[in-house]
């Protein structure tokens, strides 16, 4: 799939419609008692035969929040989401989504919940518009079809049949189908898989727009940038339980983790002892793990200026979300 010039502008065109649509959501959000989570999970457990897929998972998702579930394949993300969606029954634990146990939820509960499932084929013989019309007819108060098409970036694909859609377009149809019921809670299981970079940006804008409308979103993804851009909070699952939890900026004590200072030491120069003892050489470059980068940089620059050295390639790097994530999930050995 190639980037189309229309894609980056989609959300720009949308802004007025989003404002109109948001009225209903604001009203609905206002009714909800504050402080009661939209999703509340305690001690969730699910096994397939001998394999414990999810164990002792606690989870709270608050109204209007975007929560990203991260974890290696097989960590229990999809199992957890399937239970929250009501497709799977938990073996043990309490699950409460919008006030009910999803496994026993009445059909009316599904009026309020939108789902982008991990694998689903389009209806091959129906056009994108017809497929949306079919689904819209099952809701009491569906979102307008044209508005939904625009939200998902499918306006110029409306008359294309399911069988003719590219991978990214099929995924966007999934997103459109999840939005056509005008949900207040949205589950997105790897929503941008198969998207090219431009389409992914457009999808992020769409999701961010939905959050601005007050839609609560639970999302799984393998793209760290996606989680960082969209999520208010990240939960890292590994081996079926919660390994870490927090906002992207502080996950896994990322904000307090050591920074790395890198530079090339000019030939013949020698670091002062107090820095040299903590430095390691990597392919000709010095790497200094620093818990207090300001103090260390001050010492380093004082020494360099005095010695008349210009460390022109010096860089200071904070651990990225991916660094933290890989650290958190490394010990599991289930990176399959």
């Amino acid at each position: 799939m190639t980037a189309r010039p229309s894609e980056p502008t989609i959300t720009g065109m949308l802004t007025p419609q989003l404002d109109v649509a948001s009225a209903a959501h604001r009203a609905r959000s206002a009714q909800a008692p504050a402080g009661i989570p939209v999703i509340r999970v305690r001690g969730l457990r699910k096994a397939y035969g001998d394999h414990l897929a999810v164990r002792d998972v606690d989870l709270d998702v608050h109204r209007g929040e975007v929560l990203a579930l991260l974890g290696p394949n097989g960590a229990g993300k999809t199992t957890t989401i399937s239970i929250l969606e009501g497709f799977l029954e938990a073996d043990a634990g309490e699950v409460d989504v919008l006030g009910v146990d999803p496994a026993k939820a009445p059909l009316a509960w599904r009026e309020r919940v939108g789902m982008v499932l991990q694998e689903s084929a389009p209806e091959a013989s129906l056009t994108v518009r017809e497929c949306l019309q079919l689904h819209a007819g099952w809701y009491r108060a569906p979102r307008d079809i044209d508005e939904t098409l625009a939200l998902a970036g499918l306006t110029d694909r409306a008359d294309r049949r399911g069988a003719q859609l590219s991978g990214g377009e099929r995924r966007r149809l999934d997103v459109a189908l999840a939005l056509v019921g005008d949900p207040e809670l949205l589950f997105l299981d790897e929503p941008t898989t198969g998207f090219d970079p431009a389409a992914r940006r457009a999808a992020w804008d769409t999701i961010a727009g939905l959050r601005d409308l007050g839609v609560t979103i639970v999302l799984t993804t393998h793209y760290m940038e996606e989680a960082e851009r969209l999520a208010d909070r990240i939960v890292v699952l590994a081996d079926g339980h919660v390994r870490a939890e927090g906002p992207p900026s502080t996950l896994g004590a990322r904000d307090r983790a050591a920074a790395t200072v890198r530079f090339t030491l000019p030939a013949g120069a020698e670091l002062p002892d107090e820095l040299a003892s903590r430095a390691t050489a990597m392919r000709g470059r010095i790497e200094l793990l620093s818990a207090a980068p300001m103090t260390d940089l001050h010492a380093l620059s004082g020494w360099a200026l005095e010695a008349g050295l210009e460390l022109s390639d010096i860089e200071v790097r904070r651990p990225t979300l991916e660094d933290v994530y890989l650290d958190l999930t490394r010990t599991t050995g289930s990176l399959s």
Partner: protein
């Protein structure tokens, strides 16, 4: 909501080339070949009475078209939709399960009825097999009941077929032997008793027999076969009941 869903099911079916060829085209071709080959009025027997081959083949092919469209094709569609996540996505909406089942069953039956109408017109126009108004009503009733029964059996069989790849062989393995012993191509009059007994235990022979009776009769009452219709209804209800207990909308490997 059923009508809304039915509209899109019919639209999808009408656009499906495979459905058009196999459900609408193939039975007509078969009728033309069988009836054409049997020219010069040779006869066979149905229930002991002599009948022209052309009049024998029309209800036979009608019965076969019910089985191919409402059983074979439906099993394939149901298993494919389940496997590809289409059902799962539909069940993520507030649509009740019975709406999906009813709409799909009705759409399949309507397509089957369209095939039947073409067969009746071709039979009359090219092979002179006319049917009176009374028997025609009985024929329609029998056809619809048979179609609904086959749809129920299709949903039931779909519960034991895991993937679209296995649907084809399972369907063929079930369908062809049953068609052979059910009086579609050969009269059951000449079959050994044990084969007739197997046929009697299954629904297709009753569908075929009831359709034969309707085509050969001259009045509505004469065209109705109460015993056969009761057997078809019993099979349909039994299959529907079992399917409703065992049917799953999710692929067998739904989660991992």
């Amino acid at each position: 909501m059923i009508l809304h869903t039915l509209r899109y099911e019919l639209l999808a079916l009408a656009r499906n080339k495979r459905a058009r060829v196999f459900t609408l085209g193939f039975p007509v071709l078969l009728l033309v070949v069988l009836s054409g080959l049997s020219g010069n009025s040779p006869t066979t027997t149905f229930d002991g009475a002599s009948v022209s081959l052309q009049r024998f083949f029309l209800p036979g092919v009608l019965a076969m078209s019910i089985v191919t469209s409402c059983f074979a094709a439906l099993v394939q569609v149901v298993v494919t939709r389940r496997h590809s996540g289409i059902y799962r996505r539909r069940r993520a909406t507030p649509v009740p399960a019975h709406v999906l089942v009813a709409a799909q069953t009705l759409a399949t039956t309507i397509l089957g009825a369209a095939a039947a109408a073409i067969l009746l017109v071709v039979g009359k126009a090219f092979f002179g097999v006319g049917i009176g108004a009374g028997p025609l009503v009985a024929l329609a009733l029998t056809f619809v009941l048979g179609a609904l029964c086959c749809c129920a059996v299709a949903f039931l069989v779909a519960t034991v077929v895991p993937t679209p790849e296995t649907a084809q062989p399972v369907v063929q393995f079930v369908m062809f032997p049953v068609l052979f012993i059910s009086g579609i191509w050969f009269t059951r009059d000449d079959m050994p008793q044990w084969l007739r007994s197997i046929g009697d235990a299954l629904p297709v022979a009753h569908i075929s027999d009831a359709l034969h009776q309707a085509v050969q009769a001259s009045s509505f009452t004469g065209a109705i076969a109460p015993g056969d219709l009761a057997a078809i209804a019993a099979w349909g209800l039994g299959a529907a009941w079992l399917a409703s207990r065992r049917f799953s909308w999710l692929p067998s490997t739904a989660t991992a």
